[in-house]
């Protein structure tokens, strides 16, 4: 693949042959001569547009579960009311209490360790790591998280990265509970940003900013450095680049797959019966999302640590990314969709439209010659 593009708007390099997925219905089956009807008949193009308006595979990836209404009858309604009372009146305050206590203990231990133990860096980092893991366990407890981990636990070795499908920022907390990962995250504002700056810095996180165009190169360099360091925490990357609703996977960015090291896939699947863990960042802030989790009964999910993969001879990074995405999608029961997650924030490249125009123009010109 050529060098990294300077514009992050140019998502071409991240997409393998997306033209293959686009329909070519705009080409008609060719009788030879060109007639007025062929040019007036724009029905295939219109049908594609109307089809996209009615339903499209990209928006489907970000659809939240709408809360299902119960049958309001004489005994279910009071039961539901009782459930609400228990969830909001008993569970929620208890959970907030647990969380607050957890934070207090964490800071009481973390701050002294971070600022006072200088010189014994190895020890300091070990303690900080354990503290972060503990804090994440407190978080998980605050939503009554029931998490089943399958597969061998991640080990601390150099030359490896972990990749996982992304549903919400809680993915990070769930995985971090088991192993202190260093993660690549989008810079957030507010209290989340504050935590990012102070605590997560200690586990070795890398920040990126979607809206900065030179960002990709800078981040790619940082990733490479990190994987080569022996004492660094294992690096966790969410190659989709955005939160998806845990029914689909969007295309993986190739950054994690061209490092020349092992890629360990992790598949995460949430059980929707208990709560919809999808964080629809356009609809709710992270605080609201957390509050929603804390007033639900439980967060139940499965985490599978899959076999580390290496790039095969003759395989390009994008193919490698697709292969790993396939593994994760199959394991977690997700459907694959050929879209780039960044289309949530940016418009598709005009090259895609140009390709359609080119196909049509060439067919017209060709038939013009048939006389």
């Amino acid at each position: 693949m050529g060098g990294l593009d300077s514009s992050s708007m140019e998502t071409d390099l991240d997409r393998p042959n997306i033209e293959e997925y686009l329909t070519t219905e705009t080409i008609r089956e060719v009788p030879k001569k060109l007639h007025l009807s062929d040019l007036l008949d724009i029905s295939p193009t219109l049908t594609e547009a109307a089809g996209a308006i009615v339903d499209d595979s990209f928006t489907r990836c970000f659809k939240s579960n709408s809360p299902e209404p119960w049958n309001w009858n004489i005994y279910l309604f009071p039961l539901w009311c009782l459930g609400v009372v228990v969830r909001y009146g008993i569970l929620f305050p208890a959970r907030v209490g647990v969380l607050a206590l957890g934070w207090i203990v964490f800071f009481a231990a973390f701050l002294p360790v971070h600022f006072l133990i200088r010189g014994h860096d190895k020890w300091r980092r070990k303690i900080e790591r354990k503290l972060v893991e503990m804090m994440c366990s407190v978080f998980v407890a605050s939503w009554t998280g029931v998490i089943k981990y399958h597969g061998p636990r991640p080990s601390r070795r150099p030359q490896q990265v972990f990749v996982a499908n992304h549903t919400s920022m809680i993915d990070f907390i769930i995985l971090e509970q088991m192993t202190a990962f260093a993660v690549i995250m989008q810079k957030h504002p507010g209290w989340v940003g504050f935590i990012q700056k102070t605590i997560l810095e200690s586990v070795g996180c890398i920040w990126f900013n979607r809206t900065e165009s030179k960002d990709r190169e800078v981040v790619a360099t940082k990733i490479r450095e990190h994987t080569q360091g022996v004492d660094n925490n294992p690096l966790l990357i969410f190659p989709e680049g955005t939160c998806v609703n845990n029914h689909y996977t969007v295309m993986f960015k190739k950054g994690a797959f061209e490092l020349g090291c092992a890629v360990c896939p992790v598949a995460i699947k949430y059980n929707k019966i208990f709560v919809d863990a999808f964080w629809n960042s356009k609809k709710q802030s992270f605080t609201t999302h957390l509050a929603q989790l804390m007033t639900s009964w439980a967060v139940v999910c499965d985490v599978w640590y899959l076999e580390p993969q290496y790039i095969r001879p003759g395989e390009i990074p994008i193919e490698f990314a697709e292969r790993v995405r396939d593994m994760i999608s199959v394991r977690a029961g997700l459907k694959k969709v050929p879209w780039d997650g960044y289309l949530k924030y940016f418009r598709p490249s005009p090259k895609l439209t140009e390709r359609k125009q080119q196909i049509f123009a060439e067919s017209v010109l060709k038939r013009l010659e048939e006389k």
């Binding site: 686009l22 705009t26 060109l34 007639h35 007025l36 009807s37 062929d38 040019l39 007036l40 008949d41 724009i42 029905s43 295939p44 193009t45 219109l46 049908t47 594609e48 547009a49 109307a50 089809g51 996209a52 308006i53 009615v54 339903d55 499209d56 595979s57 990209f58 928006t59 659809k63 356009k282 879209w339 289309l343 949530k344 418009r347 598709p348 005009p350 895609l352 439209t353 140009e354 359609k356 125009q357 080119q358 049509f360 123009a361 060439e362 017209v364 010109l365 013009l368």
Partner: protein, 175 residues
């Protein structure tokens, strides 16, 4: 109809159904309403151009700008009426009328050589020169018995397109 975020009543569904000439079933109208609310993210009661363009498949369609002029700011009733031409129950006449409206986007009631040229430009982009487009259009118009100066009306479109056997159907996914 009121605010898009309110629930659809049976009356609303019947009103919309009547407005679209009964080309969609009630279930399809409910499904379209859910879709409408999903696209209208800020619950304004209509879908803005920006929200249409956030559908990647729509955004990369060559005729998206032309279609936007027709669908931008439509309320739910008119949204369904617009899509009704794509119902399997729609007659060829209704389909042709929609195609005509796409060409005659400024609503003057007739389609000129300039309109034909504009649509062809949208469909071919930079892969055909303006001369090539004019030449092609001129040729096929002549062959069909028109000239560059002719204005085409709906009847002309019907005549030309009825032989083509229009396939213009979209399926509304009903849960």
């Amino acid at each position: 109809m009121g605010n898009a975020s309110s629930m659809l009543t049976q009356y609303d569904i019947e009103e919309v159904q009547e407005h679209c000439n009964y080309l969609f079933s009630q279930q399809e109208i409910v499904a379209l309403y859910n879709r409408f609310c999903q696209l209208d993210r800020t619950a304004k009661g209509f879908i803005s151009s920006d929200e249409f363009l956030s559908i990647p498949e729509f955004s990369l369609n060559p005729l998206s700008q032309r279609l936007l002029k027709m669908v931008d700011g439509l309320n739910f009733k008119d949204f369904v009426a617009f899509l009704s031409a794509f119902s399997p129950q729609a007659t060829p006449q209704q389909k042709v009328e929609l195609i005509f409206k796409v060409y005659d986007v400024d609503g003057k009631g007739r389609v000129t050589f300039k309109d034909l040229l504009e649509v062809l430009r949208d469909l071919t982009g930079s892969f055909m020169s303006e001369e090539q487009r004019e030449k092609v259009l001129g040729q096929v118009l002549e062959e069909a018995g028109y000239s560059r100066e002719s204005s085409l009306y709906v009847e002309d479109f019907m005549k030309v397109l009825s032989k083509a056997g229009l396939k213009m159907e979209v399926e509304v996914p009903v849960d």
